[in-house]
Symmetry: none
Subunit: 417 residues, 2 copies
Amino acid sequence: VKLELINTGTELMLGFVTNTNHQWLCRELTQAGYVVSRQVAVPDSAPEIQQAIREALTRVPIVVTTGGLGPTSDDLTRQAIAQLFGRALREDAAVVAHIDRFFRDRGRTMPPQTRVQALVPEGALVLPNSNGTAPGLAMELGAAEGEGAKLLVMLPGPPRELEPMFVDQALPLLRARYPNPASFACRTLRSVGIGESLVEAAIAGPLQALVAAGLEIGYCARIGEVDVRLSARGATATGLVADAEQIVLSLIGKHIFGADRAELHGAVIQALAARGETLAVAESCTGGYLAHRLTNVPGASEVFLGGWITYSNRAKQEFLGVKPETLAAHGAVSEAVAREMAEGARERMKASYALAITGIAGPAGGGPDKPVGTVYLGLASSKATRVLHQVNRYDRESFKFVTSQQALELLRRRLVS
Amino acid sequence: VKLELINTGTELMLGFVTNTNHQWLCRELTQAGYVVSRQVAVPDSAPEIQQAIREALTRVPIVVTTGGLGPTSDDLTRQAIAQLFGRALREDAAVVAHIDRFFRDRGRTMPPQTRVQALVPEGALVLPNSNGTAPGLAMELGAAEGEGAKLLVMLPGPPRELEPMFVDQALPLLRARYPNPASFACRTLRSVGIGESLVEAAIAGPLQALVAAGLEIGYCARIGEVDVRLSARGATATGLVADAEQIVLSLIGKHIFGADRAELHGAVIQALAARGETLAVAESCTGGYLAHRLTNVPGASEVFLGGWITYSNRAKQEFLGVKPETLAAHGAVSEAVAREMAEGARERMKASYALAITGIAGPAGGGPDKPVGTVYLGLASSKATRVLHQVNRYDRESFKFVTSQQALELLRRRLVS
């Protein structure tokens, strides 16, 4: 079953934002077995929106739009669609009540202009918005309005409103209306600590027979991690992908920390929880980013006890017990200081493990002995303290990500081995 | 001058990659005064690519495609376009020599299948690729091939090949062929602490005269912040946008923390640096995210001294000096504890200010008195301690962002007022 996606928003045409809804919806629809045959972006202009919808409906039975459902004057989708299909707009009392409650829950009064979001084209189904005020809409179009019966689904633009609405409401609607799309199987294995070409060199040969049978392999390398995407369509899809997964795990399994949407910080929290152990952190150059990643995992507080962000030498001494003579002899960015930070953090927080990071994020601060990107990662446990030395030459935010990956992987290997 | 963009690639339709070329090209073209009126993505399929190009040429005089110029079997753009316009493909000796040199420079032999990249449709101009093997192409289409003379520009997909080719070759070509596009002016004012509909209610009326004169206003609401985009085209563009900015600043200036790519954490670091003051943080439910944002700013270490992540009551007592009786009487999520955390952090870190955050991020942990999302934000200074109470009902990551926005804004207001 083919469908087309229409993203509305002048900010998309001006290049002010990245169209992340495009990728997210294409991935979800593909996983569900649908084929997205075209994606179109148009500005906030009623004629452009109407033309794009009209054209898409001549090609495919399902059209999904995003954006333009909010309360401001550049939100035009609702009105443009009602006009295009000659449907009256009526205020939906339940939506008005939802918007009113949304503001009251936040201790605010409903601004009158937000009421426009409760207007619903005649015959359209309301998709309630659990994370915002603008509801989504779904309209069945009769043969008179398109060529044969068609389905038009309108979703709000903000990803945190669109995503749960799609999963909880739009996708079940699609499945009810267009069941049994061609089966599609896909598994993305997520690796860390090994480069893209080494991954391919290790697995491409052994997977050749499965590729001949219809398996597709994709590699996606981001800084600090490489994904291996195994996919197939048709009756044998699930078996092909499962066989391929076993082969990949047998070859590079120790680098694979999870599948699909798994995150390395989630894998670490899970492994700690399974062992009933706890963690503290002491961060210098990552400035809280490691703690932030760990605390993104719901329930992290059961195993992550807390930590310190110690930029200055004084803070390292006073709060973590790093010795002044260690700092004087080796400097703040050194194996010895990483070791004392990790041990001090572990002891003070009474944790099973502590991770410590000290380094030079840049852009300034490097020298001939310790260039920008130099970092020491310490892992303290009840048995021993290990320190890893790395040079991560990246922009500031990538530096933080790569360094936190290395710290998390240092601990994950300790926990799963 | 209007143009359309066509991105080709099955990986775009499967949702495996983000279409960053879309945003990059739209931003560059907008800055150069061109109007991108539509962007389309299609899979690697000759009929789909041909249909998209044919349709685009009926609407606009310039079409830019990306992708499908490489050496593999899924690179179809060159062939599809030659077929669509009935032009023969001829091997270009200069391109063959370039590809050969490209491989020899890297100590490799030119693989025979890469030679296909030297095929050029009759009459097309070659845009040499300084960062890869596939050249770009530009074709003038006569009145016989489209409605009036048109320009079709084909760029390779990889951003590091596409971007310099666009700047150095495609854009000069566009400018020569379609000179003096209307000049474009744009300013995005970034606000915090005020909702999208209240922003519009405050500024839409007073800007009405400028809108009548050609000003365009766009609103982009993300959780925790609202952007107001002021733009105009033509000879009066710069003046219109400057006048509009003054009006917006006079009306809601206290909510505006910066313009264009400014970030709230950057504004806070700047304001601290300008005053020669310093900051410490004590975070519970935001788990290091506030510190992470502050330390994303290069040079943050001059004013940001560090902080604590204190999940447990024990850590709040031991490291920040929160009194056991305060915890017993009010609970960890309370105004009194936020106050003691902020004062303890400020004193221990010897900072001018300290921000403290204690709350319930969820999804679990709420109760009837203190629902999920409850948060207390403390700001300690040498003069007084202020505590703000908020209820931020969001998913875990959005909760962290909104809460950190409120903390940063609490401090920014203190610094700029």
